[in-house]
Subunit: 409 residues, 2 copies
């Protein structure tokens, strides 16, 4: 096989498992005979345009470093939200990228990202088909949102789901202490897809019953009337109610609840956040003690609360990306499929990137109950395996030890 | 020794270690010869007034249950925020309480709580001295706020500090991924005392440097001008700035930043929260990408991220409370003192409740730097031992298993 170099980059919002995938790609690439340099591209495609590379064989020079990378959240190589052509000069950018690839004898390009990143792979592949070239473009999935097509679930989702379910269990415990009526509204990420909010349905309380009483997703219209009726129904059995919402919940007209504007002290309009809006609705319609809790950034960065299943799979998916490139594939994303029979088992494959880019997988009706306010048995069966197993970053002086590129350069 | 019964109750805001203290009190009490019934009082003093008791010898009938209790956050017996006499009938309430104690032959009363709960102990002790009685009233400290006098640090604080430092490390990692200027404002609990925000100073980034760049406490006046100047100083070295604030930060006139009102979509005034206000200040004065993250309830309920030091000490403090009662003490709170020499070591004692009730211990100037925007070496030396060691609740199907009174009744 002809000697060539490879480049790996990360894009989009960080997750707790994106570095595990980077570790998997790196490990597999470093074991391929004939593989030359293994570059890390900094800040995704934006940094590659500026030739911001690091030599990963130097950076990840020991097994210990690779292991540490696997349990480090966030994007070790930095990320970007850059869409090719957003500067209005798509052709120039493409030409520039391919000249960078040629200058550095790049034969394999691995892009770890979500929907937008897969669009980048699609564009690169199309350009190469039109203009010629010899680079294998491989999309490697990641996103906490779990909204990619053609994949059982996305790397990073399982760890976020585990953190959310764990935290909702703990919030429910905290909420139950006073002998009074109270409602807590927990806001979880997810603008269009409600997978993360749905995962709060895994949280358990006494007797293994759900810790979250009501869960609302962006997939199904959110109505104040229904919310009030649902809460009153829960109240007939218990005094403290735990409501979980996706940040993207919207009314029947498709208007996001979070986009109801509030004014800050300077008179600027600002997003109050969906939980704050729902808190205000409940205060106005029901009254009593209500608290809004936005899980925010920690849900995608909690390296101290990882799903071992997620981390192991994320590494394997990275390794599979290298195998696909080595087998001559290009313009594909690594995919997974769950075994239909028997216990949980994942099969890894690839699919043409055209089936992935710019599409979103939303929560199907079969995964929620009749009332569309909680998990269905099918949804539970889908989610439960993804949060199994514990793995942790090593601890130093009481705190997790994480990997930093700046320390290893 | 005369046979008598004891009652244990929990009060005030829950913590991740308050049940470890309950486990300690229970274990020590159950080992005392002659100790009769060990009651758990539900929902603190409010429930005791209504004779809401459980038999803890039944509820905690196995070593396994006691162990599970130790790593369960929140208040196992329920809590209250009831202040004796708030109904306007203090004398009647006192008479009622002492008649409940007499009816049930209560000789020992253990109240696990913070400032307000210690005031309850003080009032009970005073009443008994005036009217006679034979109950030992023992205050057992807990609060994530670390604001009790006469104690090196409060049970529950170490676990909250560990969670906060861990989470700030992870937020800093998440914030650093894009090649752009950005600021994240992390809001931590603490209305009058800044101990929790100060603990964010333990969080580490690359090369062991602090992950939080700036920390503002309620103890020192917060000024917009200083904030802007501080951020610009950090910006001269790095693009992404992590700012941590106590919820209670206030300006030079003693006005809380969080009390600047915003209007919700119904036109109701509502607290935007300190972080949202500081976010608005930064947007107006500096601009660019700014995000507010409120750590909220999880910081006092994160049973999945406990400090082993905190849990072990919390159990010991519970045990010491029983010894104090057994030695004939009453109207005291269990206290701790750190060994002045050598490695970290805690000595447990008691002090008259008069020295504790209704007072607050705030962060001394020596624990912050000259600029009053970060930890000093003395502050670091004080905090570091408190987050050492890891202990976890048992895990079942990927999520922590916690203790619920309703399951064991």
């Amino acid at each position: 096989m002809e000697l060539g170099n490879c480049i790996i980059a990360q894009s989009g919002g960080p997750t707790a498992a994106i570095n595990a995938t980077l570790a998997g790609v790196y490990t597999a690439a470093s074991q391929k005979k004939g593989m030359g340099h293994i570059y890390g591209g900094l800040n995704g495609i934006e940094g590659i345009l500026q030739e911001k590379f690091v030599d990963l064989r130097q950076v990840l020079c020991s097994e210990e470093r690779v292991r540490l990378l696997e349990t480090t959240p966030s994007s070790f190589l930095g990320s970007c939200r850059y869409k090719l052509g957003q500067s209005g000069h798509l052709e120039e950018e493409m030409a520039r990228l391919f000249s960078v690839f040629a200058d550095h004898n790049i034969r394999y390009f691995f892009y770890i990202g979500g929907n937008d990143s897969m669009d980048t792979i699609l564009q690169l592949e199309k350009y190469q088909q039109a203009h010629g070239g010899n680079v294998a473009f491989i999309g490697v999935p990641k996103t906490i949102d779990n909204d990619l097509m053609c994949i059982d679930h996305t790397p990073g989702f399982g760890s976020a789901a585990k953190y959310i379910a764990t935290t909702v269990q703990e919030i429910a415990l905290d909420t139950a202490v006073y002998d009074m009526d109270s409602i807590v509204v927990v806001e979880v990420m997810g603008r269009n897809a409600g997978w993360l909010a749905l995962s709060a349905g895994l949280a358990r309380g006494p007797f293994g019953k759900p810790a979250a009483d009501l869960i609302y997703l962006p997939e199904f219209p959110f109505s104040e009337e229904q919310l009030v009726a649902d809460i009153q129904k829960v109240r007939s059995e218990k005094r403290q109610v735990v409501v979980v919402i996706s940040e993207g919940i919207q009314n029947a007209h498709g208007e996001r609840i979070a986009e109801a504007k509030t004014k800050d002290s300077f008179g600027h309009g600002q997003l109050g956040g969906a939980a704050k809006q729902v808190e205000a609705i409940i205060k106005a319609r029901i009254g009593g003690k209500v608290r809004a809790v936005e899980l925010n950034v920690p849900q995608r960065a909690a390296g101290h609360c990882l799903s071992a299943t997620d981390i192991v799979e994320s590494v394997q998916i990275g390794e599979a990306a290298v195998d696909a490139a080595w087998n001559g594939e290009s313009g594909v994303m690594v995919t997974t499929e769950r075994a239909k029979e028997g216990s949980y088992r994942l099969m890894i494959g690839t699919t043409d990137i055209i089936h992935i880019a710019n599409q979103e997988k939303i929560v199907p009706e079969s995964y929620v109950n009749q009332e569309k306010n909680h998990l269905s048995p099918a949804g539970l069966a889908y989610l439960a395996p993804l949060i199994q197993g514990e793995i942790s970053a090593p601890v130093e002086a009481g705190l997790p030890r994480y990997a930093y590129l700046s320390e290893w350069q």
